[in-house]
């Protein structure tokens, strides 16, 4: 199968956003009746690629061909008309409509006013039977499981004569048996000549269902291999590459002397169930780890590994199901952020704008928000003291703002993040949890934040750092705990950790953990 005759061919496609080259000369093709795996680390460019194909983004340069003829996609609607459908992780369905109404929404058979329900049901039944989907056309969507809802999405695509079906992490919310059912459906699609692009972090599944795999790394092609000729190890190697970027490197690591330092936080056997997609999903399963004084501990994992859920549970932002948290050797009950803060734990959350800041308030008001109890006398905020304190932190962190009265919404990402960090440091915490502290921040501000983290650790503050950028974890962390599917799959010291080992542990699936890969530290 050569590229020119492929059903879909993207040739040298580039796309840049302010400050980020999301895709650089990426080529990709998919043939009719083929299942193409698309893999890459978080931020490798998979979602940008998808959004181009669905008409959300336009490309800066490059060419698109569909069925041999040049193609310009203006809108999601047009993409669907052409037969390109995408099934996102978050399904786009109407919970209060029936299966058949969902499948034919906007294209219901019948006259100008009334829907011909009989025809609607017949057409739906035909599709469901052809795909061996055991669903009742009149069932309400919200009564279905996630797997069944996904089937409805697929049926919807088929009803539009789909030619290219892109599935983004379709198995992440499915059980073992449901995954097998999905694979049956994918094979059926393949037989009927649909090109399926299967995006997944689960390498075993990719190797199982796909014919060919395309690897993306840092917005560039990093290999295109036949499944028959490759291995899990090769895929990992291609995903991480060899290029360690020039990151800020900490000069002092606790390596070696780690065992002698004092344990500040111990997390034991944390379990948690239920996410937005599936109330029964296992989010955290028997997670234990410890944190030492002055240590920077990394939490590595791919999307959906449970990193954010874990730290939110520790911080009391979400309820945990079971498990114990020990602080300085004593068990503590953390039911809410109030408890965590009182115990000296701070959280720099993942989404700065939605969770970290009050965008409409000034730098000053944001910075002292968690600190007002100490800053107030008889309920009155001591404005002079507050201003002095805020000035001090603005200078110390070199926060670039015209004044402390500036609304934080007007600050750049890096300066916003510094405001969030300053908010916690005013409380002199003993533990600071930082969830993706450098996301969406330019390079200069990144290195300032690394420097700051290093200083904090040197002063005895223990840091838990989550990052999707493995090189960043490798550069900053004394120790890295790897999570996959809510479980701890490995723990690496600074000197042991490499991109390959991290990727290996972060892509481990459950059975594999117990059977063939016995060499796990925990």
């Amino acid at each position: 199968m050569d590229r020119q005759s492929a059903l879909l061919w993207m040739k040298d496609v580039s796309k840049a956003f302010p400050g980020v080259q999301a895709l650089q000369s990426v080529s990709l093709y998919a043939a009719a009746g083929e299942v193409l795996g698309l893999i890459g680390q978080n931020g490798a460019g998979k979602s940008t690629l998808m959004k181009i194909l669905s008409g959300v983004y336009t490309i800066d340069s490059g060419e698109l061909y569909f069925n041999g003829s040049p193609l310009v996609i203006h809108s999601p609607h047009q993409a669907q008309e052409l037969g390109i459908s995408i099934i996102y992780q978050e399904l786009n369905l109407m919970p209060n409509l029936s299966v058949m109404e969902n499948i034919f929404i906007g294209r219901e058979p019948g006259g100008a006013v009334f829907v011909d329900r009989r025809q609607l049901e017949q057409q739906t039944r035909a599709i469901l039977e052809r795909m061996h989907m055991h669903l009742r056309p009149t069932a309400l969507l919200r009564s279905l499981s996630v797997a069944e809802q996904q089937m409805v999405e697929i049926a919807k695509a088929i009803s539009r004569d789909v030619r290219v079906l892109i599935m983004d992490e379709p198995t992440s919310a499915l059980s073992e048996a449901e995954v097998e059912t999905l694979f049956e459906i994918i094979r059926e699609l393949k037989r009927s000549g649909v090109a399926v692009i299967f995006i997944s972090h689960r390498l075993e599944e990719v190797l199982h269902i796909c014919d060919r795999v395309s690897v993306l790394r840092d917005g560039q092609n990093a290999g295109d291999v036949q499944v028959a000729d490759t291995s899990r190890e090769e895929l990992i190697r291609r995903m991480v590459g060899r290029s360690l970027e020039q990151f800020f490197h900490r000069t002092e690591h606790l390596d070696g002397s780690v065992s002698s330092t004092e344990v500040v936080l111990e997390v034991q056997k944390i379990h948690r169930r239920g996410n937005t997609l599936n109330p029964d999903a296992v989010v955290l399963d028997d997670v234990s780890f410890s944190l030492r004084r002055g240590e920077i501990l990394g939490l590595a994992g791919l999307v959906g590994a449970g990193r954010t859920e874990l730290v939110r549970t520790i911080f009391g932002a979400d309820r945990r199901r079971s498990g114990r948290i020990l602080l300085n050797g004593r068990e503590v009950n953390i039911h809410s952020p109030v408890d965590a803060i009182r115990l000296g734990i701070g959280l720099v959350p993942e989404d700065r704008k939605a969770q970290g800041l009050i965008l409409g308030l000034a730098v000053r008001e944001n910075m002292t928000l968690a600190h007002l109890d100490t800053l107030s006398r008889a309920e009155f905020v001591q404005l002079a003291t507050e201003r002095r304190l805020v000035t001090e932190y603005i200078e110390r962190f070199e926060i670039r703002t015209p004044s402390m009265e500036q609304k934080v919404v007007n600050l750049s990402g890096g300066n916003q993040q510094k405001v969030v960090i300053a908010k916690w440091l005013m409380l002199t915490p003993q533990i600071l949890i930082m969830d993706e502290p450098t996301r969406g921040i330019d390079v200069g501000a990144k290195s300032e934040i690394y420097e700051l983290m290093h200083q904090l650790a040197t002063h005895g503050i223990s840091i838990i750092m989550i990052s999707s950028e493995f090189p960043e974890l490798l550069a900053m962390c004394d120790r890295i705990v790897c999570l996959a599917e809510g479980r701890v799959t490995g723990e690496l010291l600074h000197r042991e950790a490499t991109l390959e080992t991290l990727m290996h542990f972060c892509t481990l699936r459950r059975q594999v953990v117990s059977v063939s890969e016995g060499a796990i530290a925990l």
Binding site: F17, P18, G19, V20, A22, G43, F315, A317, S336, P337, V338, A340, I341, R342, L347, P349, A354, Q355, G356, L357, I358, L359, G360, L361, A362, E365, L369, A370, L372, D373, L375, S376, E379, F380, V381, L383, R400, T401, P402, S403, E405, Q406, K407, N410, L411, S412, G413, K423, G440, I441, D442
Partner: protein, 338 residues
């Protein structure tokens, strides 16, 4: 991934755009006053000015409470009904009987006295607010629904309490609070401005005030910063309840009668005033200064148009238009800021 890079321009000590909507309302108020003064000189007589202030004082008191609620992104539709119930309770306590029993028996000082009457009115308001606040903050029922329920239920309570009869004619001691004067200034005006000042100080200078803006601006970020969000949300409904209770007493005093139909529709006028004053219905933005201006604007308009013999029906249409226009102006300013 895409970060809006903002290169700060010249240093600005105060972000005036933050007050744009409040200052805008002030500008409109002054303009309208000048127009009325030019057409009808009697408008600016001190008697008329205090008349306007007296007319808006009850709305104003309620609006002070409503500002707290709206700052958290909530709404309280029940204040008019709660006011009626509180007024009746206050009157009944003052007259020494419950409901109908004492109705019509004018002036007999067999009651429990003035202080218990005021306390009872305030207690009814606070209790009503506590009830609604609990449903909103703890049971997570949307404020619109809870207070819509309150709007109906408290009115029913008022009718039930006095068996559908008003309680009228009080002694001078009772009437003083709604009708009396201190020098040239009507007593309710003093009460209104006093509480407005107090609320201004609370919102601007206290920890509680800061928490309120934070919760209204971003409840999740506030929660993750260790604020007890549900307690703060609960508190604002207690505050509106307090003002509804106090206003219930004051209105019965001013009208020399506690009526079941007192305060019907007040919630809408009050919300209109708060919104015209620049407090955002989404929460986190605005303040008491704007609210006072907004309520004055409505009062001045109604007073001026009455002086000019314009039908009250037109007044309602005008107030409606001003609400929409004020919010549109606000959006315009914000859009330009982005």
């Amino acid at each position: 991934m895409t970060m809006k890079q903002n290169t700060p321009s010249a240093p600005r000590p105060i972000d005036w755009t933050a007050y744009a909507s409040q200052l805008g309302a002030l500008g409109v108020l002054i303009a309208i006053c000048i127009i009325f003064a030019l057409i009808e000189p009697a408008f600016v007589s001190s008697r008329n000015i205090f008349n306007v202030l007296r007319q808006v004082s009850i709305y104003g008191l309620l609006a002070v409470g409503m500002t707290f609620v709206i700052l958290t992104g909530g709404i309280d539709l029940s204040i008019g009904s709660l006011l009626a119930l509180a007024g009746l309770v206050s009157a009944a306590v003052y007259k020494g009987g419950m409901g109908l029993l004492s109705a019509g028996t004018a002036g007999q000082a067999e009651g429990f006295g003035l202080i218990p009457a005021i306390a009872a009115a305030v207690a009814v308001g606070v209790l009503g607010g506590l009830l609604q606040g609990t449903a909103i903050a703890r049971l997570k029922v949307p404020p619109f629904i809870v207070t819509l329920g309150g709007l109906t239920a408290f009115r029913g309570g008022a009718l039930l309490f006095s068996s559908g009869q008003p309680i009228s004619t009080f002694t001078d001691e009772y009437k003083f609070w709604g009708q009396g004067m201190v020098g040239p200034v009507p007593v309710p005006v003093i009460i209104f401005l006093g509480f407005a000042l107090l609320a201004y100080v609370v919102l601007r200078y206290t920890r509680y005030g800061r928490h309120l803006y934070a919760v209204g601006g971003n409840p999740e970020a506030a929660r993750l910063s260790g604020l007890n969000v549900s307690r703060i949300v609960l508190s604002v409904y207690v505050i509106t309840g307090f003002f509804a209770g106090l206003s219930g007493f004051l209105l019965s005093s001013r009208l020399n009668s506690a009526e079941q139909v007192a305060g019907v529709g007040y919630e809408l006028t009050v919300i209109a005033g708060v919104v015209i004053g620049g407090t955002s219905l989404f929460g986190g933005e605005g303040g008491i200064f704007g609210t006072v201006i907004g309520i004055l604007l409505i009062g001045v308009l109604s007073n001026g148009l009455t002086l000019l013999n314009v039908s009250p029906y037109y007044q309602q249409i005008l107030v409606g238009l001003i609400i929409v226009f004020a919010v549109y102006l606000d959006q315009l300013v914000k859009r330009r800021r982005r």
